[in-house]
Symmetry: C2
Subunit: 163 residues, 2 copies
Amino acid sequence: MSDKRDEAETDGIPAGTLALDQQLCFAVYSAAHALNRTYKPLLDPYGLTYPQYIALMTLWEKDGRTVKALGAKLGLDSGTLSPLLKRLEAAGYIHRARDKSDERQVLITLTDKGRAMKKDAVAIRMEIGKATGCSLEALQALTIDLQALAGRLEADQAHDDAA
Amino acid sequence: MSDKRDEAETDGIPAGTLALDQQLCFAVYSAAHALNRTYKPLLDPYGLTYPQYIALMTLWEKDGRTVKALGAKLGLDSGTLSPLLKRLEAAGYIHRARDKSDERQVLITLTDKGRAMKKDAVAIRMEIGKATGCSLEALQALTIDLQALAGRLEADQAHDDAA
DNA sequence: CAAAATCATATTGCGCGCAATCTAATTTTA
DNA sequence: TAAAATTAGATTGCGCGCAATATGATTTTG
């Protein structure tokens, strides 16, 4: 009667039907939490959370961004970034200042402490790499696949917004 | 002087040094947010959040779990699950009841509404599949890689706990 | 130039995620 | 069996993430 792979269920929906995408979304969900939990003990000594650390990373790449530019890079809005950046400032990692030429904008710049943290991040990077237990090639391939997935999902959302 | 791929920076840390793992952790972070945002408009009509939907999925797979068993499956503790399950109960998707043979445990069972939702999930599944724009094979490969990554990260954490 | 529209950021409210703590039930052990 | 230890959940507090709203600053329009 029913296929071997999709065994019948009492509700009439084969057991395998929902499996794949559920597995994907659950796998992304689980991997994000697992990474978060791996970073936590490494960042706790610095009083940093994982999202705060990610924000610092983008500033190491290019300092002096506006809140909006940071938000575009991180995919976060001011509702998330404003309080996060206030906490990063209170912790001494960044400085916030209104742009004199356009008072609507707030420029985020690294402090000495924020720049110094970049050197400590090298050790954190090695710990994470060790925890993943993956080769650099495998991590790179996975990264590319994830970027492609996120890119297509975002494009799809942009498409829906236009409709 | 410096290698072509790792151009020197003013702080002495080559630009490429931090890039790879940053890209991976950021890619996982971004993909999780993108998936969440893709699910949101599909789940809003049902008054469900993405984590609530994931909890329902695990109950479709096996109904009548305890809170602890659900937490083990989802990687969540009671601090997250207790209020989430109370909201799922208030929305009419599940029923919570103390186990008569062990009053410490709370058994979570699907209501008729909760079981009926499984049929609607088929349409949601197809929307997500379309939004990813990936072949089933590609999604499956990505899922396996992510499961492997999460598995190794969790094993690493368990190892650290023992130390 | 003044009113309207737009833009950048901040604030509020709600739900998730986690650590820490609390309560009640069960099991261990002395 | 009584005391101690363990277990399952619930609660509290804090930070993230997002929608909705508010506030000023700038730009556009009439």
